[in-house]
């Protein structure tokens, strides 16, 4: 077996690693941030007409910047790991196209629904829902294909499609718990019910991915189930289960508390769901590392020339903290319950 990890003291060694971390964090940021606004889009169809405006208002100032994390994640794949970008996106050509059309539909529907005439509003709301759902399903489908190493036979495709449904459900959970924080009254109560209903499929999906990866690759099996590794790793599934329990308990208690006008702990379901996504993401990253294309291409084999990576790295080190800084500022400006969107 060839040496997987080269000398990390050399730029050609540590730069790809650094970019993998930045890319991973961008994708994680994307999944959580755009996850909640895609989730709100998926739930839109279930809401009453009066509630739709408020739901959209809860994501209005944020969705644009949320989607930019996808551009950064894919951008790093493109510029830092060009070979992998070609292979991965070539394999995922059709689901990528579906996702892009979905993202396009919902992105523009967000604006068109209030700017076109009132008689078109229902149609654009429908487009917002369809686009959000399509993008979520496509992303989950791609995750499924990545996990099984693009093994596109019938069971493989079914597995990927199932993961698509699970991820969409997970986004719906993020969206519903986000709405619990950002809304009040009847909509907030409905969001609690939506959240409860979306939990199960997310749990099943995480379990399915966790079981599939070690089955696909012996290397991953050993990474998790060799005794010395298991001793360190066992808290991950346990904490994930614990977080599911916390979400469930909080969702069960919230209706009573909200009935007494007590908002205490309304952020707990969202916070715990974010925790679940982070753990699941890290578990997956641990399984895949150091491969970008499972068992085919490592991050070092796929990396661009070190001198070009260095130029981007310097920029990223300066700019990324600034981006995080002003993103936090934007979230602070719009903290608290969502109000109607006004352009002035």
């Amino acid at each position: 077996m060839p040496e997987l990890v080269p000398d990390l003291t050399q730029p050609a060694g540590w730069l790809p690693l650094a970019f993998m971390i930045v890319m991973g964090l961008s994708i994680l940021a994307y999944v959580i941030l755009d996850g909640y606004d895609l989730g709100v889009g998926i739930l839109l169809e279930a809401a009453g007409d009066g509630q739709k405006d408020r739901m959209i208002a809860s994501i209005g100032p944020f969705w644009d910047a949320n989607e930019t994390w996808l551009v950064l994640g894919v951008g790093i794949l493109l510029v830092a790991f060009p070979t992998a970008h070609g292979i991965v996106l070539g394999e995922l050509y059709l689901p990528v196209a579906l996702m892009l059309i979905g993202l396009t539909l919902r992105g523009v529907a967000f604006d068109f629904r209030v700017k076109a005439g009132a008689r078109f509003k229902r149609g654009w709301d429908r487009a917002f829902f369809v686009g959000s759902l399509l993008a979520s399903l496509a992303q989950g489908y791609m995750l499924g294909l990545v996990v099984i190493g693009f093994e596109a036979d019938m069971p493989g495709l079914l597995f990927a499609a199932f993961i698509g449904v699970c991820l969409a459900s997970g986004y719906a959970l993020l969206g519903a718990t986000w709405l619990i924080i950002k809304t009040t009254g009847e909509l907030q109560l409905r969001a609690v019910a939506w959240a409860k209903r979306s939990m199960a499929l997310l749990g099943v999906g995480i379990a399915a991915v966790s079981l599939a990866t070690p089955l696909v690759s012996e290397r991953i099996f050993h990474k998790w189930f060799d005794f010395e590794n298991l001793i360190v790793l066992w808290p991950m599934p346990v904490i994930t289960a614990l977080l599911f329990f916390i979400v469930w308990r909080s969702l069960s208690r919230l209706p009573h508390r909200l009935a007494q006008n007590n908002d205490y702990g309304d952020w707990v379901p969202f916070g715990a769901t974010v925790g679940i996504f982070m753990l699941a993401f890290h578990g997956l990253a641990y399984s895949l590392f150091p491969y970008l294309v499972i068992e085919r291409l490592t991050i070092w084999e796929a990396a661009a020339a070190p001198e070009s990576l260095m130029i981007i790295f310097v920029g990223a080190v300066i700019v990324l903290p600034t981006i995080v800084g002003y993103s936090v500022f934007a979230y602070r400006v719009f903290r608290g319950k969502a109000t109607d969107l006004e352009y002035y």
């Binding site: 930019t68 794949l77 070609g86 996106l89």
Partner: protein
């Protein structure tokens, strides 16, 4: 069907759809800032009303630009894997800097600019408007640096068939960059000037005489009247730069098949690749030589000088003429408009209708200019370095074909929806401003004096 042709069609469809919206947001960001600053200074409601309408157009254009831009970031890899494999070391950092310095900046502060007016101080809101405008412009800076580098590559060396950067300043400020950036920025401002003038004329023709309409109309017409001649000058300089670095493109633009001294300017003709000549040509003797070399008998290279490394002539020839034609029309209309506004204070119904028809003329000029330069670079993707055919994907043609149809359908629907919604917003703005100004009829208006100062636009 041929995957190369399909990939090119798909990419052309995406980039053509995409470029429409940045061309509006780049300049409109600054125009909005101007409206905002005028309002801050004068307190005159007309500036705020103009801001209110155009910020909606901005938000809509921005959303369309973002989603089509996301598509672009994927298609670099899916359609042209050979591009990143060969010149990724150059293109990568430029794209990365665009995302890092521009995308997040504009997307984040757009939220505050659009919806944060009541949540932040006026100063912070103005700052957010500045940052959004800076963001869109920075984005243009980086992407045009990359695009210019593809036309006039510099500051690199080839090692084992892969480009490696040797001088980043030379890469960014490559020979055609400053010309292209200036030309494109002015094109964006002209697109916006005619959109604002056209929509304001539309409202004016519908009987909407609110001060915001007159103010916006003036801004649009005067901006166009100043920038159109500037653009003619800059376009000429850009052309001379192209002659120096990409003479084959100029030969195609001018429809010159043979290298000759004292080359004529072909005004009209049907370029025929079979016979290597123009049918039904209308020519002015020696003018092409005079324009390009500033000598009556200067030598101008024709298509025959470039063997197989020249672009398809007819498409470049025609897109160039459409761009120039619209440019001349813009010059005429904007000057007539400026003259009418100066003399009579209004544009009149006939010129008004022409302006309405020209609302989106900037788009046509931008696209035809874009096709001129991009098709003019063929058969290369990166001039002299990488041929388009060598960069194309190995994805099955059927997949490309299916997605091409899906993208095209989406884009046609969205452009249609966009144009009709922009006009709808203009009609709505008329109604809501009239409603808003009604109560002031009951009492004396509070702040109209500032507008009566002579000489203030």
């Amino acid at each position: 069907m041929d995957p190369l042709l399909l990939s090119r069609l798909q990419f052309a469809a995406n980039i053509s759809f995409h470029i429409l919206f940045p061309m509006i947001t780049i300049a409109l960001g600054w125009v909005l800032l101007f409206f905002k600053l005028r309002y801050n200074r004068t307190g005159d409601d007309k500036w705020m009303n103009a801001y209110r309408l155009w910020v909606k157009v901005f938000a809509l254009s921005f959303a369309l630009g973002v989603v089509s831009g996301i598509t672009m970031s994927f298609q670099f890899g899916t359609n042209w894997p050979g591009f990143m494999e060969t010149v990724g070391n150059i293109a990568g950092p430029l794209l990365a800097y665009e995302v890092l310095t521009a995308f997040f900046l504009e997307a984040t502060f757009l939220g505050i600019m659009l919806f944060g007016f009541k949540r932040v101080s006026n100063r912070v809101h103005t700052l957010a408007t500045v940052l959004v405008a800076v963001g869109t412009t920075l984005s243009a800076f980086w992407i045009l640096a990359l695009n210019s580098w593809m036309h006039t590559p510099a500051g690199f060396e080839m090692r084992d068939g892969v480009a490696h950067a040797t001088d980043w300043l030379a890469i960014v400020f490559n020979p055609s960059f400053v010309y292209r950036l200036t030309h494109t920025m002015i094109a964006s401002f002209l697109t916006v000037a005619f959109l604002i003038a056209g929509l304001s004329a539309y409202r004016w023709l519908r009987g909407d005489r609110t001060p915001a309409v007159a103010a916006a109309l003036k801004v649009g017409v005067y901006l166009a009247a100043v920038l159109t001649p500037t653009q003619v000058l800059v376009g000429d300089l850009h052309g001379l730069n192209t002659l120096e670095h990409q003479p084959a493109k100029i030969a195609a633009m001018e429809g010159l098949w043979e290298t000759q001294n004292g080359a004529p300017l072909v005004l009209f003709g049907l370029p025929d690749a079979e016979t290597q000549s123009n049918r039904f040509a209308v020519e002015i003797p020696k003018l092409a030589s005079l324009i390009l070399t500033h000598e009556l008998d200067g030598e101008v290279k024709g298509i025959d000088a470039f063997e197989d490394a020249h672009p398809p002539v007819a498409m470049v020839f025609w897109s160039f003429r459409i761009m120039v034609g619209i440019g001349l029309l813009m010059l005429l209309v904007s000057w007539l408009g400026a003259y009418a506004l100066k003399r009579r204070g209004e544009i009149g119904p006939r010129l008004g209708r022409v302006l309405v028809w020209m609302s989106f003329s900037g788009w046509v000029a931008v696209l035809s200019g874009w096709y001129t330069t991009e098709i003019g670079r063929q058969p290369y993707l990166v001039h002299g370095v990488l041929r388009t055919a060598d960069a194309v994907t190995s994805v099955p043609p059927l997949s490309i074909g299916i997605t091409l149809v899906a993208y095209l359908t989406t884009y046609v629907v969205l452009v249609g929806a966009y144009v009709s919604v922009v006009f709808y917003l203009a009609r709505q703005a008329g109604r809501s401003e009239t409603k808003r100004s009604e109560p002031t009829a009951l009492g004396p208006p509070v702040l109209p004096l500032a507008t009566r100062e002579p000489g203030r636009a």
